[in-house]
Symmetry: C2
Subunit: 202 residues, 2 copies
DNA sequence: TTATTGAATGATTTATTGATCGTTCACTCC
DNA sequence: GGAGTGAACGATCAATAAATCATTCAATAA
């Protein structure tokens, strides 16, 4: 049904405007409805609740980032380790920029990961899938020699946790964060890089 | 002055009893004073405030852990990488056990790191100093080849951040945590291990 | 029938008040 | 005169009341 989707888009746009400007708590369903020239009750024909509108917004942002990260992962001009570095650098900068442009988005993220933890976990899992792609390709190319790429991807996410959680950025500038990310990546990339000579040289 | 220190110990003991049992917020200075058979005002002759009593308790716990970690670092029967693994494992278990035995200690840690961030940073710095010791010794033994041991120690702390912040232990069992710590340590230890043949074999 | 409304409802938030607590200090006791 | 007291003060916290808001649904309009 096209009409329903169009309406959902309208609502999402109106909600996004208010949510990013005034925050989640200070945006009311009545206001969103008013912006869409409809009654509050009618919103529930398109979304099952306020949190689901926020979720739709988060989904859009998440998808945008995912596409960006996937481009990096599939960029044929980058080596495996360059992909890993670019991946986490882009991820961190995306988070930093969103927060810089509109701190309200932080409140949104907090609420969503509290009310809909499955969604937040899903986002992490999607990113892990991309990492798995890089690691597998790296294995195939002889850059890495990783037995369990899924487990290793998890461990990498664990080690680089700090760079996707602004709560843990204690007043650090983006410069310092970048330097720290690079430092951790140095160790990790070295840690997963195949130290043996390439097989065809043997 | 011996008397003053004895009195401080008495106060710390009384406060610890209550703080670990009822939590920081629900423990009053009047109660602590009463337990020590003195008036509330008199507590201020030994500590400059409630938070400083809590700090003294945290200092004790911190010192205990530090001694334990230092034993590991200076254990002559362990290799450099074994020291690193044992170090972070002991650290995580210490945190886990303290939380398990008395969840109120978590509130204490939260308040202290908010009210006295310098203390919390100092604790981290002291642990980093131990790590630097291991890395330097490892360099000397040819196990590692780390140009800047302080920076690398910082990066290791960053990568293993999750295992000292229970906030980030999302309902994980100690078993799963242990497995994850091991996984991250695998990468890190591999990442800092010298891949060249030992110099005397050259 | 389907789309929409808007008043009713109960949960949550905000505002207000009263009580509690940390801290100070003029004073007492040894 | 140093050690200790406890009433006084302002800040913080808890309890209550008032208001706001998300959500529902019977009624209405298309």
């Amino acid at each position: 049904m096209l009409c329903k989707d169009t309406m959902r888009d309208t609502i999402i746009s109106a909600a996004m405007e208010r949510l990013l400007h005034y925050g989640y708590a200070k945006t009311t369903m009545a206001e969103i409805a008013c912006d869409c020239n409809m009654s509050p009750g009618n919103l529930y024909r398109y979304f099952s609740g306020k949190i689901d509108i926020a979720l739709a917004i988060a989904e859009r942002h998440g998808e945008e980032l995912f596409v960006h990260l996937r481009e990096i992962v599939r960029d044929k001009t980058l080596s495996s380790s360059q992909k890993i570095r670019a991946f986490f650098s882009a991820y961190m900068h995306d988070t930093y920029d969103k927060l810089e442009n509109d701190p309200r988005i932080y409140e949104l993220a907090q609420i969503i990961s509290k009310e809909r933890p499955d969604f937040a976990n899903g986002q992490i899992a999607k990113k892990r899938a991309l990492l798995v792609e890089v690691l597998s390709a790296g294995n195939a190319a002889g850059d890495f020699n990783i037995p369990d790429v899924v487990f290793t991807a998890e461990m990498m996410q664990s080690a680089l946790l700090k760079f996707s959680y602004p709560q843990l950025w204690t007043r650090l500038t983006i410069d310092k964060l970048e330097r720290e990310l690079d430092g951790v990546l140095d160790i990790i990339v070295a840690g997963i890089t195949n130290t043996k000579k390439s097989p065809d040289a043997a």
